[in-house]
């Protein structure tokens, strides 16, 4: 009898532990590039590949998909080249914006993306995926976007993780 009570008590504690952690199970993440900058950017329209930048910024945050929840994400990356630092792509500003996410995981966001150069939409609602988002600080993530004209994974935007937050 005593054993039963002990077992029941034990089961209760285990259930309690499970229910407490359930709320925190669907993980949420955020990554910023606010200092180190970019690794690589490819513009298939100009046909250039830049590896150094005048300015390179990224903010993203996302929540992993779980039953009954489709996953939600925000991503915007920005790269620019100045008149005195045009690089292979010339004096332009680029924006890589996630329109909507179709899938999210601990390391990746898949969805439809807009690419703008100097404010002009060059790739509208193009499918693409950013991977490597689970890397530690100092490592890189990589965004590849399909272009209807230039083919799959034609656009690339890759940067370093400066700060991250996960729970």
């Amino acid at each position: 009898m005593k054993k039963h009570i002990v077992l029941a008590f034990f089961a209760l504690i285990v259930t309690g532990m499970i229910s407490v952690s359930a709320a925190a199970f669907d993980h949420t993440h955020s990554v910023w590039t606010n200092n180190s900058g970019g690794i690589k950017m490819i513009d298939p329209d100009i046909g250039c590949e830049a590896t150094s930048f005048f300015k390179f910024r990224t903010i993203t945050s996302w929540t992993e998909i779980s039953p009954g929840y489709n996953g939600e994400a925000h991503f915007r990356g920005f790269a620019s080249f100045s008149r005195f630092f045009p690089g292979p792509c010339g004096e332009h500003t680029y924006e890589f914006t996630l329109n909507s996410a179709s899938a999210t995981s601990v390391s990746a966001i898949t969805g439809s993306w807009d690419v703008r150069r100097d404010g002009t939409l060059l790739c509208s609602a193009c499918s693409g995926q950013v991977t490597g988002l689970n890397q530690t600080v100092g490592n890189s993530y990589d965004l590849l976007i399909d272009d209807p004209l230039y083919g799959p994974a034609a656009w690339e935007f890759s940067g370093l993780i400066d700060v991250r937050n996960d729970y």
Binding site: S30, I59, S61, G68, Y69, E72, H74, T97, G119, N165
Partner: protein, 174 residues
């Protein structure tokens, strides 16, 4: 006659200034100077209110929230944002008990520097208690250590019944 020329000239000048102003604005917008934001909170809560029971809690074991959004949309950009806030073991009076809460933005309809307007899901102890409810995260432009708030409408208990108020711990804007 001279006066007419002067008037015509000034009209042209004003029009030119207005148009170049628009061009400048568009350039500034396109250059993405201060248009994307992110705010994090770690264990710096103000309060959470249960829109179903009416209980407010300020005693919280664990509090996390992560959000990021781009302010341009719409009409220039689509409204894009992510927000999730988690409260672990909010404890109150004997009647209110203790609960976990999970606030999730599921779709954004409008974003600017300070606000994310959209539809939200709220979970209590893992169960969906407010589904596709309209709500706004506001004051998101707040400096570190000051408060932003999420107010979500409840279909039964009215406007802003669900509340998630917290202080900004870290922020980044570009």
């Amino acid at each position: 006659m001279k006066k007419r020329i002067m008037i015509a000239f000034s009209v042209v000048m004003i029009a030119a200034v207005l148009f170049s102003g628009r061009a400048i604005l568009r350039n500034v917008l396109a250059a993405g100077t201060i248009h994307t934001h992110s705010v994090w909170t770690e264990d710096d809560p103000v309060s959470v209110r249960d829109g179903n029971t009416g209980c407010s809690y300020t005693s919280i074991l664990k509090w996390r929230s992560i959000t990021s959004w781009s302010e341009e949309g719409p009409p220039l950009y689509p409204a894009i944002a992510h927000f999730r806030g988690v409260v672990v073991r909010a404890s109150g009076s004997f009647f209110c008990g203790h609960h976990d809460y999970d606030f999730r933005l599921i779709d954004a309809s409008q974003t600017d520097k300070e606000n994310i307007v959209g539809t939200w899901d709220v979970y209590r102890d893992g169960s969906l208690v407010c589904s596709g409810c309209t709500g706004t995260a506001s004051n998101l432009g707040a400096a570190v250590s000051t408060t932003y708030n999420v107010d979500i409408d409840d279909p039964i208990n009215g406007v802003g019944a669900w509340q998630f108020y917290a202080n900004v711990n870290s922020r980044y804007d570009f």
